[in-house]
């Protein structure tokens, strides 16, 4: 049976070059980068080189890049750290309603334990934040706005430069979660005008347990992990040197391949989207039709349960994910799909395909064929579908 992996937003294989680059740092070059002897200096030099590569990918200065354990940690550090560092200025932050949980729950933490007020900014039906709505939501108490660059569930790319310009004008810090975009589309922190930006290693082909946070030079934030002087006193804990070296290598590779990769993914996505919309009736293509991640295709199939669809796709060798989560016995609907105004019942039929550089047109065609069959099968015994089609 064919095996078609279309879940690159969940996990990507570690790139061979990144794996090779990191291997010596497990056993041969294992010393601590903080050690003040030659072998320690050599390890520190490897960490610094990786920092330069990550900085180069996002057009930042090396000293503006801090290594973390994940995109989630980067988001937590940005949101909590920047908000807590500005308590004297105010206790209001703004996030969009479609942020990743690591931003949403960091905001809720501030609300619950530090008396912050949080505005959850609504989005349009294509998932965009209305700049004028953001402008109106900013008050004298607002210290931070966090709006993601690309949404992992519906693929929409926000007009970050436009949104950050409003914040700069009002003297409010702007953070963007770019976990879904770094390595997929060009990301330039200067052009985006952001003060903080989160990225994740696995999204680039580095191993799990790696990530980074860009913070504008001289920006203050309260650390999450207190301890020693690692990361210039901003994040304690001995560095994950092999992971950092791999992230540096993956960033270097990503920079050279960005355009070619995006063009390839766009071609595949186009084939997948056109194929699905042409073959399956009553399906909604979610997110923005053009302003979206190149390798991201998301749908809601009426009369179908997303979890069941994922299960049957996997039985046929196609691996994807669903935006909706099946929590214990209760069916929980995706907050992102609700935020874009999707009917709660239709939102249950959510499926997200995230393509990677190794996918082929043949695989896209195979996926459309499999999808058409499994949707038909599920609908054939769906009471919801029968009711819908009888109406």
């Amino acid at each position: 049976m064919k095996r078609v992996y279309l879940d690159h937003a969940s996990a990507t294989p570690v790139r061979r070059e990144a794996l090779e680059a990191m291997m010596p740092y497990f056993a041969e070059a294992f010393e601590n980068p903080s050690s003040v002897y030659d072998r320690g200096f050599a390890i520190k030099a490897a960490v610094d080189e990786a920092r330069e590569k990550v900085a180069s990918l996002i057009h930042a200065k090396p000293k503006e890049v801090l290594f973390t354990s994940s995109g989630a940690e980067s988001n937590n550090l940005a949101v909590k750290g920047a908000a807590l560092a500005n308590l004297r200025k105010g206790r209001h932050i703004i996030v969009s309603a479609i942020e990743h949980h690591s931003v949403l729950n960091a905001a809720r933490y501030l609300e619950r334990f530090h008396d912050f007020e949080v505005t959850f900014l609504p989005v349009t039906e294509t998932g965009l934040v209305d700049p004028e709505r953001l402008r109106r939501a900013i008050t004298d108490d607002t210290v931070l706005v966090s709006i993601m660059h690309g949404n992992n569930e519906i693929g929409t790319l926000q007009s970050v430069a436009e949104l950050s310009a409003i914040c700069r004008e009002k003297g409010v810090l702007f953070h963007t979660d770019a976990v879904a975009t770094v390595g997929q589309v060009p990301v330039d922190v200067e052009a985006l005008g952001v003060d903080l930006l989160s990225l994740s290693g696995p999204a680039l082909g580095a191993p799990k347990g790696t990530g980074a946070l860009f913070f504008r030079d001289r920006l203050r934030f309260v650390p999450l992990i207190h301890g020693g002087i690692q990361e210039n006193g901003r994040r304690a804990g001995t560095e994950n040197v092999p992971g950092i070296v791999a992230l540096g290598k993956a960033a270097e590779l990503a920079q050279g391949e960005l355009e070619k990769k995006a063009a390839h993914l766009q071609t595949l996505r186009h084939a997948l989207v056109e194929g699905v919309l042409g073959a399956v009736p009553r399906v909604h293509h979610t997110g923005h039709p053009e302003q979206r991640l190149p390798g991201h295709a998301s749908f809601c199939f009426e009369g179908v349960e997303g979890e069941a669809l994922i299960f049957l796709l996997a039985q046929n060798g196609v691996y994807a994910s669903t935006g909706s989560a099946c929590a214990s016995k209760a069916l929980k609907t995706s907050p992102v799909l609700i935020a874009i105004g999707m009917d709660a019942a239709v939102a249950q039929g959510s499926v997200v395909f995230t393509l990677g550089p190794d996918n082929t047109l043949d695989e896209a065609t195979y996926t459309v064929d499999v999808l058409t069959k499994v949707v038909d099968r599920l609908r054939s015994f769906s009471p919801v579908w029968r009711k819908k089609t009888a109406a």
Partner: protein, 84 residues
């Protein structure tokens, strides 16, 4: 402890929210780049710096000018004059 107001600095290092002993490590590096007689300003929220910085100055032959409070930024401002 000497308290100072409106001290003019030639360079500033902001170490607010940065962990100990960054309040010693970064100033040591920065003072190397200053000329004799120039003043370095250190911004920190770390109480331990109030003892450590004057002690470091005494040990290393640099002049500790004094400390100023910065209520707006919730931090201390410490001033060192480079002596050699």
């Amino acid at each position: 402890m000497k308290f100072v107001k409106d001290c003019q600095a030639d360079a500033t290092v902001d170490l607010v929210y940065r962990m100990c002993p960054m309040h010693l490590l970064e100033p040591v590096e920065l003072i190397r780049d200053l000329r004799e007689g120039q003043v370095l300003e250190i911004l920190t929220d770390y109480d331990g710096a109030l003892e450590d910085i004057p002690a470091w100055c005494a040990k290393n032959g640099q002049e500790f000018i004094g400390i100023g409070e910065d209520e707006e930024n919730d931090c201390y401002r410490l001033y060192i004059r480079k002596r050699h």
